[in-house]
Symmetry: D4
Subunit: 219 residues, 8 copies
Amino acid sequence: MSFKYERIDKNNVVLLVIDHQEGLFQLARDSTPTDFKTNIVAHAELAKVFNLPTILTSSSETGPNGSLTAEVLALHPNAPFIKRNGEVNAWDNPDFQAAVKATGKSQVIIGGITTDVCTTFLALSLRDAGYSVFANSDASGTFDVKTASDANDRMRAAGVQVLSLFAIASELMRDWRNTPGAPQLMPYFDKYVPEYGMLARAHDAAMKKGAVPSGLPSM
Amino acid sequence: MSFKYERIDKNNVVLLVIDHQEGLFQLARDSTPTDFKTNIVAHAELAKVFNLPTILTSSSETGPNGSLTAEVLALHPNAPFIKRNGEVNAWDNPDFQAAVKATGKSQVIIGGITTDVCTTFLALSLRDAGYSVFANSDASGTFDVKTASDANDRMRAAGVQVLSLFAIASELMRDWRNTPGAPQLMPYFDKYVPEYGMLARAHDAAMKKGAVPSGLPSM
Amino acid sequence: MSFKYERIDKNNVVLLVIDHQEGLFQLARDSTPTDFKTNIVAHAELAKVFNLPTILTSSSETGPNGSLTAEVLALHPNAPFIKRNGEVNAWDNPDFQAAVKATGKSQVIIGGITTDVCTTFLALSLRDAGYSVFANSDASGTFDVKTASDANDRMRAAGVQVLSLFAIASELMRDWRNTPGAPQLMPYFDKYVPEYGMLARAHDAAMKKGAVPSGLPSM
Amino acid sequence: MSFKYERIDKNNVVLLVIDHQEGLFQLARDSTPTDFKTNIVAHAELAKVFNLPTILTSSSETGPNGSLTAEVLALHPNAPFIKRNGEVNAWDNPDFQAAVKATGKSQVIIGGITTDVCTTFLALSLRDAGYSVFANSDASGTFDVKTASDANDRMRAAGVQVLSLFAIASELMRDWRNTPGAPQLMPYFDKYVPEYGMLARAHDAAMKKGAVPSGLPSM
Amino acid sequence: MSFKYERIDKNNVVLLVIDHQEGLFQLARDSTPTDFKTNIVAHAELAKVFNLPTILTSSSETGPNGSLTAEVLALHPNAPFIKRNGEVNAWDNPDFQAAVKATGKSQVIIGGITTDVCTTFLALSLRDAGYSVFANSDASGTFDVKTASDANDRMRAAGVQVLSLFAIASELMRDWRNTPGAPQLMPYFDKYVPEYGMLARAHDAAMKKGAVPSGLPSM
Amino acid sequence: MSFKYERIDKNNVVLLVIDHQEGLFQLARDSTPTDFKTNIVAHAELAKVFNLPTILTSSSETGPNGSLTAEVLALHPNAPFIKRNGEVNAWDNPDFQAAVKATGKSQVIIGGITTDVCTTFLALSLRDAGYSVFANSDASGTFDVKTASDANDRMRAAGVQVLSLFAIASELMRDWRNTPGAPQLMPYFDKYVPEYGMLARAHDAAMKKGAVPSGLPSM
Amino acid sequence: MSFKYERIDKNNVVLLVIDHQEGLFQLARDSTPTDFKTNIVAHAELAKVFNLPTILTSSSETGPNGSLTAEVLALHPNAPFIKRNGEVNAWDNPDFQAAVKATGKSQVIIGGITTDVCTTFLALSLRDAGYSVFANSDASGTFDVKTASDANDRMRAAGVQVLSLFAIASELMRDWRNTPGAPQLMPYFDKYVPEYGMLARAHDAAMKKGAVPSGLPSM
Amino acid sequence: MSFKYERIDKNNVVLLVIDHQEGLFQLARDSTPTDFKTNIVAHAELAKVFNLPTILTSSSETGPNGSLTAEVLALHPNAPFIKRNGEVNAWDNPDFQAAVKATGKSQVIIGGITTDVCTTFLALSLRDAGYSVFANSDASGTFDVKTASDANDRMRAAGVQVLSLFAIASELMRDWRNTPGAPQLMPYFDKYVPEYGMLARAHDAAMKKGAVPSGLPSM
């Protein structure tokens, strides 16, 4: 079996924000609320760090689904924002489809609520339309872990790559010496991947004058 | 790798109720009893909401497996109901096979007890016979989570789509403005997906006279 | 160490419904939404089965906390219902305190949202005021399992009995031959404890004409 | 995608017992010890119920791996038993390979310790040699759940069917009216799947004179 | 704080079997069915190994609760067996109370279905009556782990000792050289605690002629 | 058993920040890193919301334990900050002890890393010295869930109250109409308890012009 | 409620190694095997670090229980080692009791296999005899998490302190500047608490020439 | 579907150590720290046991990621060690690529931190370049179990074999009588798979003079 590795290419990819709405947020119970809110914002900010074209969409937002998350809107005040009035699958909305096509990109990064409906339906339509799809598994949420896992398996069967926020960011960066590289990504990870941020903070502190050794014999 | 997305089509699908029996209910221990009973009824009612042809079947119901769940029978008093006297796989029963074929549909939604036996065996036979099969993972139950997961993987390897009740309902509806749409589905979700129903109730309450703001600064 | 067993006494107990509100419902993530909604209604209906005095209360219900669950209100249209405008601990509300005292009971059954705040605060105040408190652990919900467990431990340290819905119902009934007894409780369990209801259904079916033996050798 | 469903055929299948040894038993920590021991015996007895050719093998049994489980030996005193002195993969042992080939069967049911080594290695070799392989997931054990899951995925990628003991027994039986059918399988399930056995016992008891109804209104 | 350690005394203890019935078995979902059935039988057999007085009781056994487990009855054909017709708490039944008192023992070992109702209610009454109560946590079952844990905490607050089957057996034996001791307990553990039985089997096998060393350097 | 309920009193309580250091952060693996970092900051900000006296301490911060979390320092630039050079238990440091005593408060809220060492040791010393101690269970972290649970049990045995951040904030506030009340706490919960914040956001949005009903029939 | 905090005092404590035997090791399934073996050795080495009197005991070690763990024996070649020939509870062995008394200490640190039998029985006897008992929860193992938790609760009810290895080591040390202090404990933690060891290693590396900053802006 | 089983061949495989660094260690939270550190060393030592060519690489090791684990370096002082200054995917580093190619092997064993980034990216590039890739799932670590599982699925979709350390060692050895065989592997397993090592130790002890039988009747 031969395999061709197609990497995410920061020059050929569009980031989609799918129904990250303040009402629908309550349906996402497969991670902690704080983790999920953090990952919703991290998903949106990824596009800022790498200057990726970004498209926002919401579903029936004057109803119980609620407004798109305020922090996401604040990050992307000028992005195309398609407010769907009824279509569950964003690809069924001609304006959304046009917005994606207008970017001219062939790769798509997605995240949304719920994983099994809005995210999966769109992902399958995008695959059908020939796009390479990368699903940010940290930025999609749904009713429970089993539903998320089944939805991810359904997407994988269609050729979707399901991967973590950290993997997407790293595959976009490729080299810490690139721009964006360490000076952009480290603050980003400090905000959204605190175990890495704290590692960096402690490292920088240990380099400061006044640091004392741990007591371990030198190795 | 190219991919063709075949959606569930409310005009081309039959819903099957497989051995949702009151004795067999005790074998389903991969979800909570209340969740599972609720999903059994939700599975049956899905066909009412979308007016789908429905076929019921049970296995040896005068023995320990017990009667088909009373609530399901009450919803479908006139549906074809094939009481198998011995066949584990419903497809081995000519009356059942005839009933499915008589619908003229090429897509099938299934749910049953147990996931690894009655549901999976039938799903594999249906795939062998050329049907597109959508397994309602919330409406099948079995001994434990591992058995469910292995059975779902076996079905997936045969091309079965395993998805949530919420995903099936949403893929059938497609647009909240269709009929059936919001006025039919919202009460359905209120009954069977209470986190969504409660969201809608709170939304409607907030629209009423007398509601007061939360105390958050406006965003 | 000696021990005095004080049982719940159906003639000396009042049932309290604490902030089972349709907005607050979203904060309860330590059980499945369907289980929790079912248990909220089961808690309220317990008072109907045993004809217990019942007091309802809610917190700031014109704000995000939302209305008391509609099904609960429908069960108790004439119960004292104290809508608190600000007090987190219902005992701080003089009307609520008066309503409890007016029942003349010395035992209290409670359930509420969230377990660690509205339920625990009230439980501790009731213990301080000399009441025997029985917390329905199935009918209280909070952010996660750890928080529920810590809250229950805090209540236990104050002498609160934390027990299941099934245990409360059984301790109230005491004997299946009492009234209420089997004819009242079996339908109640059929609705709210389906593993028991299904057992009863299968038993009754096996008693019907036409039942056939399982194939087991007789024991 | 088309799919051909190959069922387990009781006339074309051999059952293999792979290193179910009393020392190696300690390495299996992905289920409870009682569950696993029960499933080891159930795996061996399956061949008795369906009169399947059976081949036993063990690895270095005079060393720490220990003897083949006594209960298994007692069930199959006359089965071919290949004691390997060093080969990890039983297929590397010419006597074992010859024994399998001598059965003339093209389907194989396997279970062993550990899932990721003795079971998987043999399963992959059998697939390479053209056999249809059915892995009894209840009768294989290994270090932890993750290792079991990875091993099962490795087998599935090679076309192995991973399924439960209950599914294997049911697919072998096909119809409760066959021989073997209910009179053979019900006692088997009573021993090894007690939730089903207890269901049958309670059913049979309810059919006896003296049974009284549950108190549920008739449905 | 001073502490007095009261050990289980094989000459001063009675073993109670509480509602281990074949219908109620389905309500016990806090362990695997095979583990639980095994522990029910192990509980009953403990009395045989140590020749303890034993009292059986069941609740409404002609109804859905079903017969006392057949294997238990077979072990204790002559034990006092009080079939309660309605009392949930066995202590409320005068015959049961008389049977316990007739033993003249001051310590009690209990196990039953469900943990939170039949087991806990009786345990609390026994504590109230001055008995020392030892709850076999492996031999009681209930709806889920949370309910079991809350029930055990309720019993502990009343001074009940909650401990494992292995601990009860070991505290009864005290010394492997006593009678009963190793020759009685090892076969018992081999049946009910297979990780220990397999250890003993492998040990005995290694002592046999023909055993070969593992390959480890001698330590 | 009588019980006296001592509530947290915003006028009589000091908040302690114990070793929330950027190196030690890596030892806290009993919650997600994002949840834990969020709760560390929430703990510190609680003192700002209620204007509580606050004392900071760290352990050997020029070594691997690292600096106190930057966000905490930024919130409390002028709080007493005792940098311990070796004492594990902060109470062993005379400056720390003096700082606590100087507040004149008899209640203490604590949170720290690790739960079982720095937090528990100090909590036990504070109890020994007569303080009422409230442990913020969300703001303490340690190696794993078992260690946290054992540490919390050790503290509870000494009379420490272990409760959630939400419970502490609510017990401090007491009434939404107080100051601080809803206008201060709602933004606080929006930041640190996003399931509640999102509920409030959706509520406020539903009150805006243009909101449309959900489709549920009015109840 | 007043509370007296008794700390572990390195000058008044004896460390006991209870049945950490190479056969019994297989019964300990409530942690990973590598974690448990590591903690067994760490328990024994704690006595070396703090120069604590140490007593070893084993149960029937020529039978299946096996030899005391080789690494433990290598650490304590000259410690009193009481090989019990039958007593389950080490306190029942006069030599063991004499050895403990001969130390003249009033505090005891214990760890053993299994938690619910050998460890708990001895702990309760020690409490009965007036000792202060500190149970190293990381160094005791048993059949499953539930059994461990019940056993720990039984010990806690007798006044035993159950705490982590890290807490015991830290309470013994008290101050990083003591002897033993950082230079002894850091290498100890590096071996047995690798998340702390790795923190120290990275800290020391960051202090070396050639380290480069992380890319975070300075805080 | 036909299948070709390609086994790991000790003469045709190179082992890669990917970013097993002392800072990055903190990001690996999907297993216990002790298990993971043990598996990192076990991975490296595997190459010593089988004399496999080994290549080490690290990422930005003068920054927060830290030095390669000291124990790994000590095992492979003379292996090619490529310190990458920025490339996330080691395959992007020409020196690393040259080192792999210079071995002339077509099979690769990998393990690294994090699973989803450094390990997966390299694995996919190696597959793209035509290598057969075997991922040691025990020797890769990442943020949480879900991320590990998604990463493993991504690798499997590219044809990577994901398997346990025990499976890799066993597939390399093939026969206990080979060299390396039992005398090399048993000590290796004793160090890194203690449940197997303890089994061997107990076996060897039982063969010694003085061993006594367990008390089981001979079988």
